[in-house]
């Protein structure tokens, strides 16, 4: 039986929720089209994740386990994926659109002569291939894309699909693989991680995002306090990541991350299209901005026109009351 294969991304010892969202979608497509729903885990501890993955309906799980996968490295990841694809000849390979996926998707398509469509917000199988929706023109427009090919690679934006459990006992297929760091041309010297225990923005239920209006330590500590009260992840506009006020990995938008939390609170952010491109799919958007004409109000469900130094203290206080 032909299959749809979902790549399960592991990051810092945890399954990325977005890849389980994709697996949930793949399972639905597999069931509707009589395909096998399979998954692939590539990690130094790949086998430890099979239980969680079979919970989302993968009937066969390919495991590639090697210490080289302790960190993201594109060359071995590419060869592992190619090896599995050549062995199992899937019709579709689906990925969560992480930075790790973006690093290899084009190369894998070229290597496997596969059709490919990146960063979709939905996808389905047709008689001739895959049809997908993807935001274009800084997410002002949605393009409907048809993809053909013996095999088609699809990467999916986080938050595009709900998690749906469908427990099954999967067959585990361990693939022989070894790679040594010294064989790699590209050397990973080190990873500079964001300090502190940051919440993964792709998985956060609530995000407090700071923009250029957040000018000084006082404003920054209001942001920190608001995020603490709501147990939210902190994000930022490019103005602040560029200025070094927040870590670059916190940038939300076209260049940064695309997020879709339940609640997004934009503080001192004007709402440039490139920022909105990364957050417009949030369920509820709150904007706090002193300029009543700021474009962020066009996408906000609740717009508070006011100075953040005056708005945030009572806002935080009221939320604390509601929380307790």
């Amino acid at each position: 039986m032909s299959s749809i294969l979902t790549y399960i991304a592991i990051s810092e010892g945890k399954i990325k929720r977005s890849s389980l969202e994709v697996l949930s979608r793949s399972k639905a497509i597999a069931d509707a089209n009589g395909l096998a729903c399979e998954a692939i885990i590539i990690d130094e501890n790949a086998s430890s994740f099979t239980d969680s993955v079979q919970n989302y309906g993968a009937s066969k799980i390919h495991i590639v386990e090697d210490s080289i996968f302790s960190q993201h490295r594109n060359t071995p990841l590419l060869s592992a994926l190619s090896k599995v694809m050549e062995a199992s000849k899937p019709k579709v390979v689906a990925f969560a659109s992480t930075e790790g996926t973006k690093d290899i998707l084009g190369a894998l398509a070229a290597n496997q002569k596969a059709g490919v469509v990146a960063d979709v917000s939905s996808f389905d199988l047709t008689s001739s291939g895959v049809i997908a929706k993807r935001p274009v023109m800084a997410a002002k427009v949605v393009g409907n894309v048809e993809v053909t090919g013996e095999t088609i690679l699809v990467s999916v934006r986080s938050g595009s699909y709900e998690l749906v459990e469908s427990p099954i006992t999967a067959e585990v297929n361990t693939i022989e693989f070894s790679s040594s760091e010294s064989d790699l041309k590209a050397k990973l010297r080190e990873i500079i991680s964001a300090t502190g225990d940051t919440i993964d923005l792709n998985e956060a239920e609530t995000i407090v995002a700071a923009g250029r209006g957040v000018k000084d330590e006082e404003a920054k500590s209001l942001i920190t306090e608001l995020a603490r009260v709501l147990n939210a992840g902190i994000g930022a506009s490019r103005a602040l990541t560029e200025a070094g006020v927040y870590d670059p990995s916190l940038q939300i938008g076209q260049t940064g991350k695309v997020v879709s939390p339940q609640l997004y609170i934009a503080v001192g952010i004007s709402g440039a299209i490139q920022h909105v491109a990364g957050m417009a799919n949030s369920k509820v958007i709150v904007a706090i901005n002193k300029d009543a004409d700021a474009p962020i109000f066009e996408v906000a469900d609740y717009g508070i026109v006011g100075d953040l130094y005056k708005v945030l203290p009572p806002f935080i206080e009221e939320l604390k009351k509601l929380k307790s």
Partner: protein, 256 residues
């Protein structure tokens, strides 16, 4: 160090547009140099100013794309190659990657630089495709580049932090606009660019015909992004509206 920078002319995302019967209608004259490619050009210029070197840009596109090449030359690139197409072939990243590969396969260079994505489509595929087709070590989403002992040191924005990756040359890298602020060409640069060479190349001379390039993916229609329901705007006494919205988030939106 010799740099090849692949630059693309893209529609200006700020230009007004209409969608009619699934077709996206925009002013075909409002085209710009892809912002990510402008950063790639900038960084190649900075590195070659610092370490010595040469920066050549290559662009696939219609006759109009020569304006984009001139822009890069005015920034300071030394030379341009314009691979001319009619401009309405519906090429996808794979088609462009195949053309770039045909052009680059017998060229000598140290660093092949691309943008991390096209600003209009956000595909982000061409860079790693070309690297794979040319068998180059590569990395993507660079936010900083350095040269050290003849190697390219890339700071890459990854999922968990910034990866510092050392690539031997020749290599390929895709650039984020978080890397730098591209220079605006000054008058001197613009004047100088007029005397710089642009090679015009057709697909046939690269040994490819348009039928070899038929894209695997095709945009069949466009639609407006899903509309959000109109929101409420609160103006007035900061203390009052702040508390009011906090309560609505709890009672109305149910997200607290």
């Amino acid at each position: 160090m010799k740099f090849y920078v692949c630059i693309k002319m893209v529609p200006d995302v700020y230009a007004p547009f209409q969608i009619k019967d699934g077709e996206l209608i925009m002013d075909a004259d409002r085209m710009v140099l892809n912002a990510y490619d402008a950063s790639a050009v900038e960084e190649a210029l900075v590195l070659s100013e610092k370490h010595g070197g040469e920066v050549e840009v290559v662009c696939i596109g219609s006759a109009k794309a020569s304006e984009t090449i001139r822009k890069a030359l005015a920034m300071g690139a030394d030379k341009g190659s314009h691979i001319v197409t009619t401009g309405d072939e519906g090429f996808d990243s794979g088609s462009y990657a195949n053309i770039l590969t045909a052009f680059l396969k017998d060229k000598e260079y140290d660093v092949l630089s691309l943008g991390k994505q096209s600003q209009d489509t956000d595909s982000g595929l061409t860079g790693s495709m070309v690297a794979e087709l040319l068998h180059l070590p590569y990395t993507t989403n660079a936010v900083g580049l350095e040269i050290e002992n003849g190697n390219l040191i890339v700071k890459r924005q990854g999922d968990t932090g910034q990866e510092i990756i050392e690539l031997p040359t020749p290599c390929a890298v895709t650039c984020s606009n978080d890397m730098n602020e591209p220079r605006i060409p000054n008058l001197k640069g613009i004047m100088a660019s007029k005397r710089k060479p642009i090679d015009t190349i057709d697909l046939a001379s690269l040994g490819i015909s348009e039928s070899d390039l038929s894209p695997n993916s095709k945009v069949v229609s466009f639609e407006h992004k899903p509309a959000r329901k109109a929101g409420q705007k609160f103006e007035g006494e900061a203390d009052e509206i702040a508390r009011e919205v906090a309560q609505l988030l709890d009672t109305e939106a149910n997200v607290i």
